[in-house]
């Protein structure tokens, strides 16, 4: 099979969770282009022609269960794209709801061998290795409610901890998932021009603004994050499992190595190397 063929999704069904806007919408469009049948779940209205839309509120377990039931059938890729910056329910919207959705789909045998799961984590999810022992406790919680209680009782219902959880979850599930023939990976984007970032433009897109200015590049476009996400879920990446791929145009690497010294402190802090 050629590389181009391995990237195709013909005859496959792709579920995009949080696909109404931003990176999720770009991923849904891209999956359609690659020949997939696409199901988009979102709290907001879905305006992607050719995709089946299912209403989903990740904050409520019953809504997730109902959405998975409505989807039904086989799913060859789940793209976990929903995420918020803060506010109530962040622990469910950014992590626990996705995990529950995956658990439900697994329980219903919706993910055949050869399928893949792709999460959108964040630069804030890096350095999770340092917090692994704590995060293992969260990952070991058996279900939705116990996970929510665990997070809330520890005051960890925030963006940083939930992105840490996503990375630790993806890495720690590589083995158990592949036993079922399923791969699981994540991307960790740097600043990306999404509605979430635009809502707090002067703050959110400040991350690495000096780096981009010196390089003469813009913040990442959603499609630039959708490409690696779809790649990781395609057969072209069949040898890749359990990784958290940094998709930040090299900001972290430039900081860690000191080739762009302005980023060094931030990179060391975020990557847990300080």
């Amino acid at each position: 099979m050629s590389l181009f063929d391995a990237l195709r999704f013909d005859g496959k069904r792709v579920l995009v969770v949080g696909g109404a806007t931003g990176m999720g919408a770009a991923a849904a469009e891209l999956a359609l282009d690659l020949g997939a049948e696409v199901v988009v779940m979102d709290h907001a209205d879905v305006k992607i022609s050719g995709a089946k839309a299912i209403r989903l509120n990740l904050v409520e377990k019953a809504s997730i269960d109902a959405a998975v039931d409505e989807c039904g059938g086989a799913v060859h890729a789940i793209l976990a794209c929903a995420g918020v910056a803060d506010g109530p329910g962040i622990e469910r919207i950014n992590f626990i709801g996705h995990r529950h959705l995956i658990d439900r789909a697994l329980a219903k045998d919706m993910l055949p061998r050869g399928s893949a799961i792709g999460f959108i984590s964040s630069a804030a999810g890096l350095g999770w290795e340092k917090n692994l022992e704590l995060l293992k406790e969260l990952i070991a919680t058996p279900d939705f409610d116990s996970a929510v209680a665990w997070v809330q009782s520890r005051d960890m219902a925030n963006y940083y901890w939930m992105k840490q959880a996503v990375c630790a979850y993806v890495s720690s599930q590589a083995f158990t998932m592949l036993k079922r023939g399923i791969r699981i990976n994540a991307i960790c984007p740097g600043p990306t021009d999404t509605p979430l970032a635009r809502a707090n433009k002067d703050v959110w897109l400040a991350f690495g603004a000096d780096f981009r200015a010196e390089l003469g590049i813009q913040a990442s476009a959603p499609i630039e994050q959708a490409y690696p996400l779809l790649f990781l879920c395609s057969e072209a990446a069949s040898g890749i499992n359990g990784i958290t791929l940094i998709t930040d145009a090299g900001y972290m690497s430039s900081g860690i190595t000191g080739s762009f010294p302005n980023a060094t402190m931030m990179a060391k802090v975020l990557m847990g190397r300080s």
Binding site: A124, M156, Y159, D202, V203, A209, N262, M265, V269
Partner: protein, 287 residues
């Protein structure tokens, strides 16, 4: 030609105030430049703007924020000169360097007087007219220290943090009268507050000597990478056209990064990041 909008800028004789007064004058604003010593400051302003001594769009007002009588008389002069101002920019501020232990208590009084109590008094004096005019904006210039307390500038940080909280409260109170409040959190700009203007109380042979050495290295780097004040002035000008009754913006990459960090990182990690940024020894490393 429509009448020029009026803006009062405190601390307009140097730094961000001077750059802002110059830029807004060039944008066609009627500028009331408030400062301790208008004679010298106005000369700099006229040189920067090319305004003549009798230019009605550039007024100098003597203002000592530590002196209630000076504040009252400045408010009177402002109202006689431009009526209720369209914009009041609380830019004047002082800083001092030194650990909590090294900083004399009297310095706290001084900093809070200039950075907080003075601006409150001036606002109170001008509010009745601004409220009656049913339009106007109060702009508060905060800094990274107002977002997150910074080592060696605790008094300055506390005063800016208090000023921000005051401005938030004020914004709720005056919004029903059609007034607006804007907080601008500044990053590092090339002004005197970074260097000779700021008194240093640090005991460089004392227990905090290691702190000072680290902070000085960081400070030196920040100064060498600081942005020109004109960039701040342009951001201020843009913020004056916003419609929202309350806004808070960071100006400068470093300030924007700090706001992002303060929002997304847990407190312990932010503490750690600032320790690293300031090159301070790790927990328990000294004594």
């Amino acid at each position: 030609m429509p009448e020029s909008r009026s803006v009062v800028i405190t601390g307009a004789s140097r730094g961000l105030g001077l750059a802002s007064a110059t830029h807004l004058y060039q944008q066609g604003w009627r500028v009331v430049a408030a400062m301790r010593s208008p004679d010298a400051g106005l000369e700099r302003l006229r040189a920067a703007t090319g305004a003549g001594a009798d230019d009605p769009r550039l007024l100098g007002v003597r203002l000592d924020l530590d002196d209630p009588a000076s504040i009252a008389s400045a408010a009177k002069t402002i109202e006689e000169g431009v009526g209720a101002p369209d914009v009041l920019v609380h830019n004047a501020g002082i800083a001092a360097v030194g650990s909590v232990e090294d900083m004399p208590t009297a310095v706290w009084q001084q900093i809070f007087s200039t950075n907080l109590f003075g601006p409150i008094a001036l606002t109170k004096a001008l509010l009745p007219a601004m409220r009656a005019a049913r339009r106007g904006r109060i702009v508060v210039i905060s800094s990274q220290g107002g977002v997150r307390g910074m080592p060696s500038i605790s008094a300055y940080s506390a005063s800016k943090g208090a000023l921000e909280r005051w401005a938030e409260a004020l914004s709720e109170e005056v919004a029903p009268f059609g007034l607006r409040v804007t907080i601008l959190v500044t990053g590092t700009f090339k002004t005197d507050i970074l260097t000779e203007q700021t008194t240093d109380y640090g005991d460089y042979a004392g227990p905090y000597a290691v702190h000072y050495a680290g902070i000085r290295r960081t400070g030196g780097y920040a100064v060498s990478h600081a942005s020109p004040p004109e960039r701040f002035a342009r951001a201020l000008a843009r913020s004056l056209d916003e419609r929202a009754p309350f806004a808070r913006h960071a100006v400068g990459v470093d300030a924007r990064m700090l706001l992002l960090g303060a929002r997304l990182l847990p407190g312990w990690l932010l503490h750690h990041a600032i320790r690293l940024a300031m090159r301070l020894p790790r927990h328990g490393a000294l004594g």
